[in-house]
């Protein structure tokens, strides 16, 4: 057997990794850095001249920065502190966004930690399924969640229906901060739960037993041994939650009303009003804050890497206690209460949405809303949003963007695991899409690529759909990195070294040994990319203006204005399509494991 073809393939494979890296970088530059750059640069380049006045005006405007703007108008920090302490303080848009992000984070952590406790320390039928299910809220489209909460909290929503049935007066939760916070918790509490559960399950029982044998009581052993290992998980998930809720858009749009606008909403408004300079400046401020938190998160995460060593996890208690001690009773009562809250928070929007899609305004069952979708499909005018193109586009875009996001994500994961220096930098680069305003991404793609660019007399333009796929891929690939990188990092180095000693080049060892062993992570990443794409709203809504390339989330938003019914019907369709796609991919790829 001649080995010449082996050598040739080897040479190709060796270059292959470098080529893939170059291609990934090129794609990122073209669909992310360049478009975003062209928009952000407008904050400092007005009418062709470099200027900082737009930026300075923004920083000095209390409308945006609240009392902190005083810092930039020359007043000292003491004056700022005093103003912030005053009862009639102004937070400004940025301040309010940060404020609601902090509150959302606290609520998410408070809601997520008990779930981690139950998942990590108890055994009950369906535990593993429940654990897998915690990923679902995160991949549900935000606009759908928004619609669900509108259906729950609205004047005629399910919450009020339940309350009036019980005899309690109605509550007005729409357009309140509370509604936004709860919707944010819906998204992020499962993230907190997931990460913390993983950390809890990797605590070595021997360490706790040692503490107990040395004289520490159960609570003390928990505080001294277990809790320190949980803090990093809680902090990192809190940091991510902050970044996500800081840049929130669809939820605030639907539930916030006019007074509770966040930074992203204003960026959207300014851009829509063609005030690009201000929009860009505001987006830059948003970016700076989000990137700062993200970078801190990455540094912290790197410093607290979970060891791959197999530990003996803490033993699990049965949900139905063996002995009904007061403590067991109190614990179970707490769990039942918590389960009730969780059911309300997580099931309510879904159930409300389902109910709203089959009820009329006066409460009778009907299929009118679905019929509306069908008639709109058959008889709608060209400029109107129709359901089938929305569904078809969503599915097609999801598939295409996953095909792009997967190799990109895998390449970045390989680089972040292999690189010894600059790993944080590469990680930050990989996670940058989290920190950048989706509006800016959409806008950049729209003006940069869709409207085209003049190069040497040729106009290079990209179809709207291609730009949408690009935006979705950029939104999705960080999740691929997050599911693939931990698997790669926890692989035993001696596996790769054995392969190399046997004659495999570094790239060959990657393809033959490493990738097959992290395959579950790759599959999970693909499922994520598809779900993220299906739910992507912010950039898509900018790119789909006027074009025929609208997706299900965009359609929902268009319907939401008129009446709730068709929007919820569309939302149900989106939920079904997303759920089915996610499950199909998971099934096809095997068990999903991440973190």
């Amino acid at each position: 057997m001649s080995d010449t073809p082996h050598r040739l393939r080897d040479r190709v494979k060796r270059r292959a990794l470098a080529a893939l890296t170059a291609a990934t970088v090129a794609v990122l530059v073209v669909v992310f850095y360049y478009p975003v750059g062209t928009v952000l640069v407008e904050a400092v380049v007005v009418d062709g001249r470099l200027t900082l006045t737009v930026f300075a005006d923004l920083l000095r405007d209390p409308f945006y920065l609240g009392e902190v703007a005083r810092l930039f108008t020359g007043e000292g920090p003491v004056a700022v502190a005093r103003a912030l302490a005053a009862p009639d303080r102004r937070l400004g848009i940025v301040g309010f966004t940060a404020y609601q992000a902090v509150l959302s984070t606290i609520l998410s952590v408070a809601l997520g930690l008990p779930a981690a406790y139950v998942l990590a320390r108890f055994e009950f039928p369906g535990r593993r399924t429940l654990r897998s299910v915690t990923i679902l809220p995160f991949v549900l489209p935000s606009i759908m969640v928004a619609v669900g909460f509108v259906a729950t909290f609205g004047r005629n929503g399910t919450l009020n229906a339940v309350l009036t049935a019980v005899g309690v007066p109605r509550v007005e939760l729409m357009f309140t901060l509370e509604a936004i916070l709860i919707a944010h918790a819906f998204y992020n509490a499962p993230l907190v739960a997931r990460v913390t559960t993983a950390a809890w399950e990797s605590v070595d029982a021997s360490a706790v037993e040692t503490a107990r044998s040395l004289g520490a009581g159960p609570l003390r052993a928990f505080l001294d041994v277990v809790a320190p290992q949980l803090y990093p998980a809680v902090l990192t998930s809190a940091a991510l939650t902050f970044v996500f809720t800081f840049g929130t858009f669809p939820i605030v749009l639907a539930l916030g009303g006019f007074e509770l606008a966040t930074v992203e909403v204003f960026v959207y408004r300014l851009a829509r009003d063609l005030q690009y300079a201000e929009a860009a400046a505001l987006a830059l401020v948003e970016l700076a804050i989000a990137l700062g938190v993200l970078f801190a998160y990455l540094r912290y995460e790197a410093a607290t890497a979970v060891s791959a060593r197999r530990v003996r996890p803490l033993p699990r208690k049965p949900l139905w206690p063996t002995a009904w001690t007061p403590r067991a009773l109190a614990e179970r009562a707490g769990i039942v209460t918590y389960a009730g809250i969780v059911a309300v928070v997580f099931l309510a929007p879904i159930v409300s949405m389902l109910l709203a899609s089959v009820t009329t305004a006066d409460g009778s069952l009907t299929l009118d809303h679905y019929r509306f979708l069908l008639t709109r499909q058959q008889t709608g005018a060209a400029f109107q949003v129709r359901p089938w193109p929305a569904v078809r586009n969503s599915v097609l875009f999801a598939g295409a963007s996953a095909l792009v996001a997967l190799p990109m994500g895998v390449v970045v994961a390989v680089i972040t695991t292999r690189a010894s220096r600059g790993r944080s930098l590469v990680g930050a680069v990989a996670m940058a899409p989290f920190a950048v305003s989706g509006i800016v991404v959409g806008l950049g793609l729209l003006r940069g690529l869709v409207f085209g660019v003049e190069v040497a007399g040729w106009r290079i333009a990209v179809a709207g759909s291609a730009a949408i796929v690009a935006a979705h891929a950029v939104a999705g690939y960080p999740f691929v990195v997050r599911t693939v990188a931990p698997g790669l990092a926890s692989l035993d180095a001696s596996l790769v070294e054995s392969a190399r000693a046997l004659g495999a080049s570094r790239a060959r060892a990657l393809f033959d040994i490493e990738l097959p062993l992290v395959w579950p992570g790759v599959v999970a990443g693909a499922a994520f990319a598809v779900a993220i794409s299906m739910g992507e709203f912010t950039a898509t809504v900018v790119l789909a203006t006027g074009a025929d390339a609208y997706t299900m989330p965009v359609a929902i938003e268009r319907f939401i204005g008129r009446r709730l019914g068709p929007a919820t019907a569309m939302g149900v369709v989106l939920l079904v399509v997303t759920g089915v796609s996610f499950l199909v991919i998971e099934r096809l790829g095997g068990e999903v494991r991440d973190y």
């Binding site: 057997m1 001649s2 080995d3 010449t4 082996h6 080897d10 035993d492 001696s494 596996l495 070294e497 054995s498 392969a499 190399r500 000693a501 046997l502 004659g503 495999a504 080049s505 060959r508 033959d512 040994i513 097959p516 062993l517």
Partner: protein
């Protein structure tokens, strides 16, 4: 470096003088190499060097894991590097495999510098401590992995080669099995088969027995030795277990803190350790420090004759040494335990020993050791009154711990002892490891 020709013969120009081991069928008789001239059939000093360390240093930051090491491993030799944790032995192995590059110095294979040659291009097979079997491939696919990059030696088909190797490691018919379903010892043998499949020139094993229980370890190391013998492949074996090192190796290199302290066949390392460290590391030992006493304070033993002959046939001088207020008679002289030379290249000894303490003078500081089996209760010479602290029954022998003049001693006996005992040893059974002359010139190796 290997150049694999399309007919898979793997012959290299500079090896024409030797048998083409890659193509030969496995036969136990293959170990009879014409250039072997050491005892027990091990490669002697005239055998060409397979792997050489030439002034190799490896630094990590400020610390030198390997410090200016010169070493030559002979072709066909079973060469073990042994030492305590952190002594640099694993780093040595990784330098040979190509996973690390030396900070200074060169590593050579058969005379050619292999700096810059990546691991996949070096002709080595590696067995790791945790075996590192690829969990997603079957046993057969694991063993055959290296054959994706080079043709099986001997012109046989891939399947034939895999089967032959599995037979060699005594795991026939396991080709289709999952590595997870194997026991630790079986996995280790698959790892060995995998490393040997491409027919490498050098086999490297990094503490392969550490994860196994004691009984299995003893059985498997003999198996590894017998496989190595039948293939005649140069083998570098790393372990912290000195008993393991002594039992299977042709030569042993003892390392400490990045330096090689002694390189010699196992018998030499055991009987003539080059330094106090080696004396204490390899097997149990009793180490005494004393000062050469003036004549006139001789014991009856010494007066039997100023000169005597030890077990190796070397002539020795019996000298009085004062240890803890007792004068003992110690035999000086004999073959010197060269550090880097082999006993085959031993310098001639004169009647009073070599550059080693040829004239021990009164006042010289001396460190010598006596093995536990040479401390005996019924010995007439060098009597020491000691108290028994405890005894360990080990089956074949009993290890008895004694205290004499504040110093801990160990002796091997057939029966446990108790209370106060008097033990003695033959002057010829004392081995001098350090000798410092009073004029400041130290005469140790």
């Amino acid at each position: 470096m290997r150049s694999v020709t399309t007919d898979g013969s793997g012959a290299r120009d500079d090896r024409e003088a030797h048998d083409d081991r890659d193509g030969a069928p496995y036969s136990p008789e293959a170990s009879g190499d014409a250039t072997t001239d050491g005892e027990f059939g091990r490669p002697g000093p005239n055998v060409p060097t397979a792997v050489e360390f030439d002034g190799v240093t490896k630094r990590y930051g400020e610390t030198a894991a390997v410090d200016s090491v010169d070493l030559a491993v002979r072709e066909g030799e079973f060469f073990t590097v042994v030492g305590p944790s952190g002594c640099g032995k694993t780093t040595m192995l990784r330098l040979v495999a190509g996973f690390e590059a030396p900070t200074d110095g060169r590593v050579r294979f058969g005379g050619s510098d292999v700096s810059g040659v990546p691991p996949e291009a070096r002709d080595v097979g590696v067995v790791f401590q945790n075996y590192a079997l690829f969990p997603h491939l079957t046993v057969g696919e694991n063993v055959g992995y290296g054959l994706r990059f080079s043709a099986p030696p001997g012109g046989v088909s891939r399947e034939e080669r895999i089967d032959a190797l599995l037979e060699l490691v005594d795991l026939p018919g396991t080709s289709g099995r999952d590595p997870d379903s194997l026991s630790g010892g079986q996995r280790q043998r698959v790892a060995i088969a995998r490393a040997l499949a491409p027919g490498p020139d050098v086999l490297l094993l990094d503490e392969p027995m550490s994860a196994l229980d004691a009984r299995l370890r003893e059985r498997l190391r003999l198996q590894v030795r017998s496989i190595q013998r039948s293939l005649g492949i140069t083998t570098v074996y790393v372990t912290h277990d000195q008993e393991e090192a002594l039992s299977v190796s042709d030569r042993v290199a003892v390392m400490r803190d990045g330096s090689v302290v002694q390189v010699a066949p196992p018998r030499t390392v055991y009987r003539r350790p080059a330094s106090r460290f080696v004396a204490e590391f390899v097997g149990d030992n009793n180490v005494f420090e004393g000062v050469v006493a003036a004549r006139g304070t001789v014991s009856a033993a010494e007066s039997e004759g100023g000169e005597t002959v030890n077990d190796d046939g070397d002539e020795q001088r019996v000298v009085p040494v004062a240890v803890h207020d007792t004068t003992l008679a110690i035999g000086f002289g004999g073959g010197s335990p060269e550090r880097a030379d082999d006993e085959g290249a031993a310098t001639a000894t004169d009647a009073h020993g070599t550059g080693w303490s040829s004239t021990p003078r009164a006042g010289d500081r001396v460190v010598f050791c006596v093995r536990p089996q040479h401390l005996q209760v019924d010995r007439a010479q060098n009597r020491l009154r000691a108290d028994v602290e405890g005894a360990e029954f080990l089956g074949e022998t009993t290890r008895v711990h004694l205290t004499w003049s504040g110093q801990q001693l160990v002796l091997s006996a057939e029966e446990p002892l108790a209370g106060a005992v008097t033990v003695g040893f033959d002057p010829r059974d004392a081995h001098v490891v350090e000798h410092t002359a009073t004029d400041g010139g130290a005469d140790t190796s």
